[in-house]
Symmetry: C2
Subunit: 199 residues, 2 copies
């Protein structure tokens, strides 16, 4: 690594700072960028600058957006009376890809995590409560993760929302589709048994 020119070492350092990219991968990527056509490198550098310049948060739901209101909030064909609460933009993208939901979202920008010093004020919870008061939705679906942080966040928000007498639901957890029961962990299986339903 010490035997590369300074600017190449700089690029390797900067790439190695990205999550999941080690020194070896960063070296491989940097050498690829160096060999790639100028146009390809320009496109990559340009799109990094562009994404930082253009993307902001939707004023209503805090989804990633290039305008004040994201396409979903601006879309009158979507069920505007339902709010699905998720932790991160990637969670919203996953639900959209599943095609099983046609309402709006509210992106908290994280989950409660005392270990990481993330409390209710660090998330968009106050904005959610204000939105529910202002809009009076038919249902708020809590779709935070099913890990400790996600469950705690859902419980905290559910408590606050019950005071506003809105219908609050939680996405189902259970055996994944295509899953083999013997490979499913005990907690999931216990939960799936508890929340069994008539067919």
């Amino acid at each position: 690594m010490n035997h590369y020119p300074a600017s190449l070492k700089q690029l390797i350092d900067n790439l190695a700072r990205l999550p999941g990219i080690g020194r070896k991968s960063a070296e491989r990527l940097a050498l690829h960028i160096l060999k790639a056509p100028h146009r390809e490198a320009d496109l990559l550098a340009g799109s990094i600058a562009e994404v930082k310049r253009r993307v902001r948060l939707c004023r209503r739901c805090f989804a990633l957006s290039e305008s004040d209101h994201c396409p979903i909030c601006a879309n009158t064909a979507r069920d505007q009376s339902r709010i699905c609460v998720v932790e991160k933009p990637a969670d919203m993208a996953a639900i959209e890809t599943s095609g099983g939901y046609s309402g709006t979202y509210h992106i908290l920008q994280g989950a409660l995590s005392p270990m990481d010093d993330i409390g209710p004020d660090d998330l968009r919870i106050a904005e959610l409560l204000n939105r529910v008061k202002a809009e009076g939705p038919a249902e708020v679906i809590l779709a935070t993760g099913t890990n400790v942080e996600g469950e705690a966040t859902a419980a905290y928000i559910a408590e606050k929302l019950h005071l506003l007498s809105v219908r609050v639901t939680r996405i189902a957890s259970g055996v994944p589709m295509g899953g083999d029961l013997k490979y499913v962990d005990q907690v999931t299986l216990k939960r799936a048994m508890e929340t069994r339903h008539d067919t």
Copy 2:
């Protein structure tokens, strides 16, 4: 992926074009860049442009360099009478890191590969022969890979160099250090046995 803003999708597309980065990794990297401080993103975009602008090939050995002659060719403390021939800049970096060599290099920029339509004229072989004629080195060490392409390249260059009556050597191949014999492949083991030496 269709549920992200256009500029974010563009960045994901450009990142996914890098080697070893799939759509999922590209999405994760793009979201990280979006969340990262402006300074970090600027540094990354800047260093991509910088590396394309600054890095060129050393006029003598074709190593990556920011000036006409790379630091190794310009270093009088190195043994300028020895030339180690490698395929790629990363090979040179690996040998430098090993600390077992103090001469100069010649980077071919690839290996002979009829399958990929890479012939002698696509590599810096003519430049190597001219350099040997002009400089009259004491030794040329062929350190191309030990795969089919590397072996063919070494054989081709050795034949040409023998006409110039220069000492030509090939790096040893055999059992890797720390290797367990039972895990070493047959070809390597056969080669190691053939090239055994007195201790």
